[in-house]
C-alpha cells in the first residue's frame, strides 16, 4: 500500500485539535465513542488501520495503537490478526430513535436564541451552564 491509497472516509475520519490540550490518543478514543453514540458507526464496521491513520494525520503510530488498545480494553472493538480492528459493540443508547425529534427542538431553540441577539459564544455558554445545573439538580 502506498500513501496515495487512503481509507474510505465514509466509515470514520479522525481529525485532531492540537490546541485542545487533550492527548492525541484520547481524541481518537473520544471520536470513536462519539460516532458510536450517534450511531454513525456500528457493530462490524472496520476502523482505519494504524498505517492509514498515520498516513492521513502524520501522527505517531504508537498513539493510534494505544487508542485502539484502549477501545479494545473497553470491549468496544476487537483486533483481528492481520485483518484489522472492528467495532464489537455499540454505545448508541436505546433512545437513539428520539434523537431526531430532540435535535429539531434544539434547533428551534437555537434559532430563537440567535433571533434574540445571542452570539455563538453566548449560546454555548448558556447551553453548557444549563446542562451543568440540570445534571447537578437531577443528581441531587
Amino acid at each position: 500500500m502506498t500513501l496515495l491509497e487512503r481509507y474510505d472516509p465514509a466509515v470514520i475520519q479522525f481529525h485532531l485539535d492540537p490546541s485542545s490540550g487533550v492527548a492525541t490518543y484520547l481524541q481518537i478514543v473520544q471520536q470513536v465513542k462519539e460516532a458510536l453514540r450517534l450511531g454513525t458507526i456500528d457493530v462490524g464496521d472496520q476502523l482505519p488501520t494504524v498505517r492509514e491513520v498515520v498516513a492521513d494525520l502524520a501522527i505517531n503510530p504508537n498513539t493510534v495503537a494505544k487508542a485502539y488498545r484502549d477501545l479494545e480494553r473497553e470491549g468496544l472493538v476487537v483486533a483481528r490478526q492481520g485483518r484489522g480492528t472492528f467495532i464489537a459493540s455499540t454505545l448508541a443508547p436505546a433512545s437513539l430513535r428520539h434523537h431526531e425529534e430532540l435535535r429539531a427542538e434544539l434547533e428551534r431553540w437555537i434559532v430563537s436564541a440567535l433571533a434574540a441577539g445571542l452570539d455563538e459564544e453566548s449560546v454555548r455558554a448558556l447551553i453548557s451552564a444549563t446542562l451543568r445545573e440540570s445534571l447537578a439538580r437531577s443528581a441531587a
Binding site: T2, L3, L4, L16, P18, G21, A23, T24, V50, R51, V54, A55, D56, A58, I59, N60, P61, N62, T63
Partner: protein, 301 residues
C-alpha cells in the same frame, strides 16, 4: 527472550571543541520504538550529539552506544541507522534515478517503497540539484527509510521547508515507522514541528540535559497554578516549584505535582509541551534593574 539493547545510550558523554564544551556529562537512554524530540535552542548540542551517535565525531570523554555497539570501533552498526544531516545533503549532479540506484547498491537490505511515492510526482531523470528543499528532504528521508533502519536520526529536518512540505515529510516518516517499528530521534529547535509526533523528549541546553522523559508522563506531572500573591510555604499536592512569576497581586507557578491541589484559591491548569519546554529552556532570571539614565528605545520611522 533476551532483551535487545536500547537503540541509543550515552554515559557521561562529553565533547570539547578547543576550549568550549559542546556537550558535557550527558547520560541518557532512548527507549526502543520511541519517537524522540531532541529539543533545545541553537548551540545547545543537538547536532553534536547526532554527530557523536553516527561516529562523525569522537567523544572527548564518556561513551555512546548504538544498538549496544560503539559507532567508532564498530561502524558496521551504521547499516542499521538512517541519518539525515542538516539541509539533507545529496549529490546535486546526480539524477533522482541515479541517487536511488546508488542507495540500492550500497545498502545490504533495500526497499524501494519509501521513494515510490516521490517518483509518481517527479520525473526520475530530474537532477537532485534542481529539486525544491522539500522534495530533496523527502528524497533524503525516503533513501534513509529504504535501508529499513532500526534507528533514524534527523537533524533539523523541517528547517527551510514550508509547512505543507513539512507535513508530507512527517507523513512519510510516520508511515515508515508504522511499517518498520524504527526508533526515531528528531533534532529540532522548533517545538511545534515535533509536538505532533514525539512521545519522548530530550531537552538540551548549553550542552547538558535540561529535561528528559516520556511526554505524557511529563505533561501529567506538571501543572500551571495561578492565585493571589502570598508568601510561599509548602503547598499540598506540590512536590517542586519549577518556576515562579509575580505580576502585581498575582502569582503564577509551574509546579511538579504529586497529588490533587486541594486549596481552592489556586486555579490549576495543564500545560502544553511547548510551554513546558520553554519553561525549562530559560533559566529562571530576575528582571534586570533599570538604570536611572536608561532611555527607552524609540521607534524611528
Amino acid at each position: 527472550m533476551s532483551p535487545s539493547p536500547p537503540p541509543l545510550v550515552t554515559r557521561s558523554l562529553g565533547k570539547r571543541f578547543r576550549r568550549e564544551w559542546g556537550l558535557r556529562d550527558l547520560t541518557l537512554t532512548i527507549p526502543r520504538g520511541a519517537i524522540v524530540g531532541l529539543a533545545g535552542p541553537n548551540g545547545a548540542g543537538k547536532s553534536t550529539l547526532l554527530a557523536l551517535a553516527t561516529g562523525l565525531l569522537a567523544p572527548t570523554e564518556g561513551a555512546i552506544s548504538l544498538l549496544g555497539r560503539d559507532p567508532l570501533r564498530d561502524p558496521g552498526v551504521l547499516s542499521e541507522v538512517g541519518y539525515v544531516a542538516q539541509g539533507a545533503p545529496l549529490y546535486r549532479s546526480f539524477s533522482i534515478a541515479d541517487t536511488i540506484e546508488f542507495a540500492r547498491r550500497t545498502n545490504a537490505h533495500w526497499d524501494d517503497e519509501s521513494v515510490v511515492e516521490l517518483l509518481t510526482r517527479i520525473d526520475p531523470r530530474t537532477k537532485v540539484g534542481s529539486l525544491s528543499e522539500g522534495e530533496r528532504a523527502r528524497l533524503a528521508l525516503g533513501l534513509v527509510l529504504g535501508k529499513r533502519p532500526q534507528l533514524v536520526l534527523l537533524d533539523e529536518p523541517f528547517a527551510n521547508i514550508d509547512p505543507l512540505a513539512g507535513r508530507e515529510l512527517l507523513q512519510l516518516l510516520m508511515d515508515g515507522v508504522a511499517e518498520t517499528g524504527a526508533t526515531v530521534v528528531i533534532a529540532s529547535h522548533v517545538v511545534a514541528d515535533i509536538e505532533r509526533v514525539c512521545d519522548h523528549i530530550v531537552l538540551l541546553g548549553e550542552g547538558s540535559v535540561r529535561l528528559e522523559g516520556n511526554v505524557e508522563e511529563l505533561l501529567e506531572a506538571h501543572r500551571l497554578m495561578t492565585g493571589p500573591r502570598r508568601p510561599l510555604g509548602a503547598i499540598r499536592g506540590v512536590r517542586e516549584i519549577v518556576r515562579e512569576r509575580h505580576s502585581g497581586r498575582q502569582l503564577t507557578l509551574l509546579a511538579v505535582v504529586d497529588g490533587p491541589i486541594v486549596d481552592p484559591s489556586w486555579t490549576v491548569e495543564r500545560i502544553s509541551l511547548e510551554e513546558l519546554l520553554l519553561a525549562y529552556m530559560v533559566p529562571e532570571r530576575m528582571p534586570a534593574p533599570r538604570r536611572p539614565d536608561e532611555v527607552p528605545l524609540r521607534w524611528h520611522g
